[in-house]
Amino acid sequence: MPLAVEARALSKTYTHSGKSTVALANVDLAIPTGRVYGLIGRNGAGKTTFVRIGATQLAPTSGTISVLGHDVMTETREVRTHIAAVPQESRPLYFLNVDELVYLYLTIRGMDPRDARRRTNAILDELGLASVRKSLVNHLSGGMRRRAMVAMVLASDAEVLFLDEPTTGLDPLARREVWAAIRRAIGDGRTVLLTTHYLDEAEALSSRLALLEGGQVRLEGSPAEIRDRVRQPYRIVVSGVLGRADLEPYGTVSSVEGGYLVFAKESPARELAQLALSKGAKVSLGPVTLEDIFLQVVGRAIDSDDAGEAEA
């Protein structure tokens, strides 16, 4: 069984009027079929560049990438019969209604009109879009629009789906609606490559993740494997009584609302928790979140922006 997507030493440097930006540097990734694979990273980490190369929309500078065993540069035609994409910040055609959006997309892809009709009806029902099927896309909420875009690619017969930040800018409820749609896709054995800078989203949906920073893969694996690989896999929040100096021997300390957050290895974490309890401080102990891991690995939060670096 070939991998859904396999990148080897994939690099991309954009050059514009003499100025060059390295967006990907020697990326190796093996994305198995049949699951959601999460690509996480801050703005400018290289997520979109990776997805666009895999979806045959952008040429790499060097290295190779294949989809279901077909090289995207030399077997482009073959690759394109297996893929579908919702590009970052893409918008549905506003003058179509929801039904037309999905149905026309399928028939433009070459699907038989009867199949296209059947699949359109099925997906609109499943994603809760049946009641707005005759509404112009323009009149839908942002969440509904995104869902309609996801419905479009889900209804296709593509086996590998590229979804680039499908929930950015949506409210929490709308995000969850899109999640449900994505979960539905892998029900029938397809692969979803999902990029996001929402770590809760990556964690909720993906069976494996890659953390991209500065065009390089910094961590890769299942959420559990990623946790195992972190230097300080426990987070302890202490409030009251103990000060920063009391905590520092146990791990890495940072200030949080009303107290301190400490990342620590297992035994110091335990010791610290006992100390805090014995002194009567409030304490909570648990495994690090993906957010914490990101902070530890990259050195800053996933939603922090470099000054002057605009979203691409």
């Binding site: 040429a59 994409a85 919702v86 918008r91 055609l93 003058f95 433009i108 590229f162």
Partner: protein, 248 residues
């Protein structure tokens, strides 16, 4: 994709961008007619009716020429603002099908406008089979020519607003200045050679001949067809070379 699938793709794209907007945005149809009809109006009034048929020929050419402009703005809009082109790139649809589907959609969208000029022609000029075939043939080639031009220009601009500036200049250079709405003899002899630089001049000559406005000797007619076809083929080749389906 098999030939049947290609044809299906092409026709669905044309339907999507040519037929559906007529239903959801019918007012836009009137805007297609606005400039060709206003030129016809001015030319006819200013000449006391003498140039009515010239104005009709010009209106036909300008309507089909504006297809290129619409194609250009649509393609830029679909690529840069909606990212629809990227959606289609990541699918079995090939680039020539995408472009041809859009070009056909713009032609469909201009049919109501063309119908107005064809009715005006039928009322004001002798209707013959030869004249009808000439009109269809000329407009078909102008369609290919303007689509190729529009597509080529679309590849140069990322921003739709930039394309607006350019497309009005192009339509000025191809339809207002050349003798499309008036006889070439109205241009002072010293500047007349300039008119021969625009392929639309030859399209207008052929239409003016078909309308019985000037007698076109066979040799002149062949030259007109030859130049028109050569210009279209050249532009189609350039468009093919410029086509960028995958970003570098």
């Amino acid at each position: 994709m098999s030939e049947r699938h290609r044809l299906r793709s092409l026709l669905r794209l044309a339907y999507m961008n040519g037929v559906v907007p007529m239903r959801t945005q019918p007012l836009y149809l009137l805007s297609v007619l606005a400039s060709p009809l206003s030129f016809l109006f001015f030319v006819t009034i200013a000449s006391g009716g003498v140039l009515l048929l010239y104005g009709i020929a010009g209106g036909m050419v300008l309507t089909v020429l504006s297809i290129g402009t619409s194609l250009q703005t649509d393609m830029s809009h679909y690529r840069s603002d909606l990212k629809f082109q990227d959606v289609i790139v990541a699918s079995p649809v090939e680039a020539p099908i995408y472009v041809a589907g859009f070009a056909l959609s713009e032609l469909i969208y201009s049919i109501p406008g063309l119908a107005v000029f064809i009715v005006l022609w039928a009322i004001n000029a002798p209707v013959t089979l030869m004249a009808g075939l000439t009109i269809v043939g000329v407009l078909f080639i102008v369609w290919g020519f303007s689509s190729a031009l529009g597509f080529t220009l679309a590849t140069y601009f990322a921003d739709v607003r930039e394309t607006f500036v350019f497309s009005s200049l192009v339509s000025l250079g191809l339809s207002v200045l050349p003798p499309v709405y008036y006889p070439i003899t109205s241009i002072p002899a010293t500047f007349r050679w300039l008119a021969y630089l625009s392929p639309t001049t030859y399209a207008a000559f052929l239409l003016q001949g078909a309308f019985g406005l000037k007698s076109v000797p066979l040799s002149d007619g062949l030259v007109d067809w030859g130049v028109l076809i050569a210009a279209s083929v050249a532009l189609l080749v350039i468009a093919g070379l410029k086509a960028r389906w995958r970003d570098p």
